[in-house]
């Protein structure tokens, strides 16, 4: 009797130890997750601290990062995401405290509305004086006064076609992509906003409409076109154009340049109905712990020679007027290319995407899904 009681007490003790071990392991697991950033901090801090950058992959010239580290003594930790939608929950949950985040125009709007961004101290970014008039105007649409964001690159969405197989000048409009003769030769964007922007522009609507009727008509138009389409894709479009799997593709201007470097018969068109012009910007989240370093980073990016290097690396539009002047001198032929410097009258017809709010988002989502599942 005594004996068994001892055993059971003993096993109870062991059970408690086991329980304690499990709890402590869970705790260390959790704390390891949440403090991994801090660990890195102490391990790899530069002499003037550190800046955590969160941006698209391969979107800053590695040389530029090295130069920044060398000149400022600030260690750059560069994390990447594939889409803004993937970035947003990371920032909104502040699970990682990034100092400077690359965000698209509509995402800037959403982050401002949800109070996730911190005001940029313009005194710390003197180079912002080089920002071009055009960029400042479009910025009024998503971040009036550039309080929370500063453009990094810009570009348009257009059509790239292979002029060996499609006569030059045959495609000038979005609605050309609805022609039967291009059966199985068209590649469209597999992304909600870009996908619906095209039929909305054909219908003469704004690509930021919240009118359900217009969105529904746009989706119907996409359904009508589906049979002609070879593939809906995003990144794959450029490769498939180059290997001539299809001859026409909707593409971002920067990707178009990439194709043209490989194959000069690729012609870019900014369609006459108007299109989307987009800006990728630098923002500073509210939770940033190295705000001044973040501002140094943005200021560095606005230095004309760095903006030029960025242009040479990415071939996206630069918001920097001084850099633009250098480009005009160094690469005059670039000004002839509508993928790099589109006609001003066409730019005037372009719109940036706006963050539409949860309700309108749901409408877009509903009709996009209707089209995709058709």
């Amino acid at each position: 009797m005594n004996n068994t009681k001892m055993i059971s007490r003993f096993s109870l003790f062991k059970r408690m130890v086991l329980f304690a071990i499990i709890i402590s392991m869970l705790c260390t697991m959790l704390s390891a997750c949440s403090s991994s950033g801090d660990d890195e901090d102490t391990a790899t801090v530069g002499e003037n601290g550190v800046v955590y950058v969160y941006n698209y992959g391969d979107y800053v010239d590695p040389d530029v990062v090295d130069m920044f580290e060398e000149e400022t003594g600030i260690k750059v930790i560069y994390d990447t995401f594939d889409t803004n939608e993937e970035m947003y929950p990371i920032i909104s949950s502040s699970s990682v405290k990034y100092d400077v985040v690359g965000a698209g125009d509509y995402m800037v709007e959403k982050m401002i509305q949800n109070d996730l961004l911190s005001e940029i101290n313009h005194d710390n970014v003197p180079n912002f004086k080089y920002a071009s008039e055009m960029c400042l105007e479009f910025a009024e649409g998503y971040d009036p006064g550039n309080v929370y964001s500063m453009p990094y690159t810009w570009g348009t969405v257009g059509i790239l076609y292979n002029s060996r197989n499609i006569p030059d000048g045959e495609i000038t409009l979005w609605s050309d992509l609805w022609k039967d003769k291009y059966y199985d030769d068209i590649m469209m964007m597999d992304s909600l906003r870009d996908g619906l922007m095209i039929p909305l522009k054909i219908l003469g609507c704004s690509c930021n409409t919240s009118n359900e009727d217009e969105i529904s008509k746009a989706a119907d138009k996409l359904i009508e076109q589906k049979e002609l389409v070879y593939k809906y894709a995003t990144d794959a479009i450029r490769d498939l154009l180059l290997n001539e799997s299809a001859n026409i593709g909707v593409i971002y201007s920067g990707e178009a340049i990439y194709c043209q470097e490989d194959d000069e018969d690729m012609h870019y068109v900014l369609p006459e109905e108007g299109s989307n012009i987009w800006f990728d910007t630098w923002t500073i989240p509210k939770v940033a712990e190295n705000k001044e370093n973040a501002e140094k980073w943005i200021n560095f990016m606005y230095r004309p020679d760095i903006a030029l290097k960025t242009y040479e690396y990415l071939h996206y539009g630069t918001p920097n007027v001084e850099a633009e002047k250098m480009i005009a001198e160094l690469y005059p032929e670039d000004f002839e290319n509508p993928a790099l410097f589109p006609d001003e009258s066409l730019i005037a017809k372009c719109e940036t995407y706006h963050y539409l709010g949860k309700e309108t988002d749901a409408i877009y989502n509903k009709y996009w899904k209707k089209f995709k599942a058709s």
Partner: protein
């Protein structure tokens, strides 16, 4: 005590890897954006778009499972008689699995695109290029290619376990070759077939990667809808709700299969 201590890592694993995620999914699936209880995310499966994607997924998964079975069973029966290089043959079937499955699916893209390997050969021979990729056929092809080993292994295990004396007895009693295969080998390998079917059907039903890569964004399965809700749609609640429906679906089909399995075993026992 020792046993309990040994089980600790698995307990943690199950709590962290199964129970917590499952609870989170149930939470998201049964609430709306504001956090109040709702069944609408579950009932959303009845919407035409969702229903169509579910039916397409069921159809493609069923066809691929059938094709996998039709490929795997005869091989298993043939391998039963092979004595020498059996291990090598099985090894060769499994070899592709050493490569990442995304890479293997991408390889199919390279083969099937209009500017790809197969069509280049076709046009070099002077024929019209074929529309191979971005079709339901291409998606089925990808599913079969990726999941065949999961069908082959359990069926092969089951078939090779059937004692040679069993089939010899059947021959002695006058059964023809066909009768032996269909009346002896097939019923005896049902447990292997059942696990093969589950292991192919379930991943095929829920895949979104294969349909994305080989369907060209034109083939929309229920897995794609769920993925879109989590990524582009930013509606985790709906995504989780539909995932719960899928889990229930899979659970029901597994119960059904398990029951079938048991019935057959009882029959055989008699």
């Amino acid at each position: 005590m020792n046993k309990k201590a040994l089980s600790a890592p698995y307990v943690i694993w199950i709590i962290g890897g199964t129970l917590i995620p499952l609870a989170l999914m149930l939470y998201y699936g049964l609430t709306d954006g504001e956090g109040s209880f709702t069944l609408s995310n579950i009932l959303a499966i009845g919407e035409p778009g969702h229903l169509k994607a579910l039916l397409t997924a069921l159809l493609l998964a069923a066809v691929s499972t059938l094709i996998c079975f039709l490929l795997a069973f005869p091989i298993a029966v043939l391998l039963r008689r092979v004595k020498r290089a059996k291990g090598l043959i099985i090894f060769l079937f499994l070899l592709p699995m050493w490569m990442n499955f995304l890479l293997r699916t991408m390889a199919w893209q390279v083969l099937l695109e209009k500017g790809g390997v197969i069509n280049s050969i076709i046009s070099w021979l002077g024929f019209e290029k074929l529309r191979l990729i971005n079709t339901p056929g291409a998606v089925i092809m990808g599913m079969v290619y990726d999941f065949l080993p999961f069908m082959l292994l359990p069926i092969n295990n089951a078939v090779s376990k059937i004692a040679l004396s069993t089939t010899e007895a059947a021959y002695d009693l006058g059964a023809s070759e066909m009768q032996v295969v269909f009346k002896v080998v097939l019923p005896l390998s049902v447990p292997g077939i059942v696990s093969g079917i589950t292991m192919v059907f379930v991943p095929a039903l829920t895949t979104f990667v294969i349909s994305n890569m080989l369907g060209g964004g034109k083939i929309y399965l229920i897995g794609n809808i769920i993925e879109q809700e989590f990524t582009v749609g930013d509606n985790w609640n709906l995504g989780a709700g539909l995932s719960i429906v899928m889990m229930v679906f899979i659970l029901i089909s597994m119960l059904f299969i398990a029951k079938f399995d048991k019935d057959v075993e009882e029959d055989l026992a008699i």
